[in-house]
Amino acid sequence: MSSEGSTRLAAFDEMLPEVSGLRRPYEAYDRWLKEQDPARLTQKMQDAERVFRKTGITFAVYGEQEASERLIPFDIVPRILSGQEWRRLTQGIEQRVQALNAFLDDIYHRQEILRAGRVPKDLIARNEAFLPEMIGVRPPAGVYTHIIGVDTVRISENEFYVLEDNARTPSGVSYMLENRETMMQLFPELFQKIKVRPVENYPQLLRQSLAAVRPQSAIGTPTIAVLTPGSYNSAYFEHAFLADQMGVQLVEGQDLRVVEGHVAMRTTEGYKQIDVLYRRVDDAFLDPLTFRPDSALGVPGIMDVYRAGNITIANAPGTGIADDKAIYSYMPEIVEFYTGRKAILGNIPTWRCSEPDSLKYVLEHIGELVIKEVHGSGGYGMLVGPAATKKECEEFAKKLQAKPSNYIAQPTLALSTCPILTEKGLSPRHVDLRPYVLVSDRIQIVPGGLTRVAMKEGSLVVNSSQGGGTKDTWVLDD
């Protein structure tokens, strides 16, 4: 058992594992890399930073006046998956996404899974992410979560796990697209040598996918809009980017109101009806008449329009109940309950501290585990046991005992690594992967996704708010 300080975990390196040597997906890239002049690569790294800053791909960091616009570090070494690896991974994701939608439909209607006792009633009824306003509401085309970013981690050649199902408003897809764009600008010759499956058509797929779930009241080509909290939001760049790439309007709450039973936007020619709203505003702010009354980011009365079936909201209100951290631990049961098969993609073993046996285990092994708040996100409010001091562990144990139901615990996983380019050459860093899934009358997964990388040596935290970076993710056309 580890005590204080850093623990180096033996991690699986996706390019050059210690045991077996260079892995096949990286062979062609490795050949190319060996021919490159290191000085030229360093120059390319600087070029990449300039491209990002010039185009204004920055994200706002809350509470930092000076650095109010910062770049997410970008590494020029791609993360490469073979076609076969990708197929295996996407089968698991498809199954999971099907189950998520089935679960949401059930939870807001008959609640079979609760009656069957597979998920405790309490977990739903007392959960803030559960919206009673959605009970009995069936969204257009029956889809609840349209755009999902499934965070996955890898720990060995064949083991992928789901870390989190982002079923509300997953962000980061613009980085996937811009990373590819930048790589193609920097290394056009690489893309001629190596057949990489394209991700560029994501905006078109998104648009088609949203159009396919339009409400029945939509006449002709549906009008789609992206709803953003505004230009001061940390993900504003992405909202603008997606609206632009889809060729639809980027609207704010102040542009919208309910006119004759429909949501409409104020244009230079008067109010125009909107049929599908891809919202990047949280549930609580969506409708001040139904949810938070102080919200200026939403549209008063939109929930009435929604319940009347006159607008599609993507993702549907109340989808948060499906990606809640407390629900997460039940995902294997949920997948099996709705698909009738065992989950292809595993969950990370999770101890629910609300259960006395689990709590006992967690307290005894606190130094080995990662303990998270059920409702936390972005890497805040968690304890990484192996990296924490004895004192920190003891203090956390007190919080844990005071309110066990607020926590879950997971083993500290040795996330796979992938090399980044440093001043001293290639050096492995831990990564995760967020593929993007679109659900309409079908499920589509763009071959690639966002690879997040912990830029600090040994660090397991890949969140951009905690200094994580990104990489272009290649799925080979083999």
Binding site: R53, E252, R266, T268
Partner: protein, 313 residues
Amino acid sequence: MLLGRTANGLYWMNRYIERAENMARLVDAGLRMALTRTQDASEEWNSVLLSAGSDVAFSQKYQEYTAANVSDFLLRDTSNPSSTMSSIETARNNARMVRTALTRETWESINEAWMSLKRMLARPIDERDLPTVLDAIKRETALIRGSFYGTMLRNEIFDFSQLGTYVERADNTARILDVKYYVLLPSLSWVGSTLDNYQWESILRSVSAHRSYRWVYEADYKPTNIADYLILNVRMPRSLTFCYRFLGEHLKFLADDYGERHACHATAEKIQALLKRGSIKDIFDHGLHEFLHEFIRDNTRLGDEIAQDYRFY
């Protein structure tokens, strides 16, 4: 179809780009006067501040009308909402808001102008560097204009942008003239002293017209010609008539596109007719100051009407 908020953003983005540049030009003219005339420099700087509409705010902060104070206030002071730095910042914020309506080239030129001016104006400007800074400001705004004209589709997005540019420009030219109208009045000016010559050149310089004036009129400065040039000349890109020719054109495009005319169309046509009908003699007979005063008022009203008619809010 355009969101009202987007039209508003485009309009103000362009007003502020225009303003950022106008501030540099005003300081340039003031600097020239201060260099050529040793006495009354403070009076000249005061006129510059009046033309910029920043005289009251300035006097709350400073006692002395020096090149250093005025250029600092008009170029880099972020507490002055019309300074070049504030203007470029506001222009960029608006551009960020309407980003989906802009070409990549246009957005990047605005973003880069903001980055480079922010760097350049971070610290007080050494008087020796002032000409370089003024050039840089004009170059950055010229780059924005260049990428804008070179890449933007000529649709409603372009129209609302141009409305912002020309309303701001007309306001600026009219104010410059109004602050200095007395040096153009016949009773004083026909003497044509050296002093007057400086004043006249300063007016032309503040709208970057001191060279082109000579291509149109004879070499000597004559107050009626200067007034004619800045008010009535159809070809001079900063004259009131020129501004209204384009305001009229873009408003007409919008009316044709949308199949609807509004109050702003009537107002613009009224002002345009006035400029078309009048000769410079009529304007002087009517009273130059009164003419300019009414023009500024009507121009402001046009801006308000555009905002209302096209649902900016």
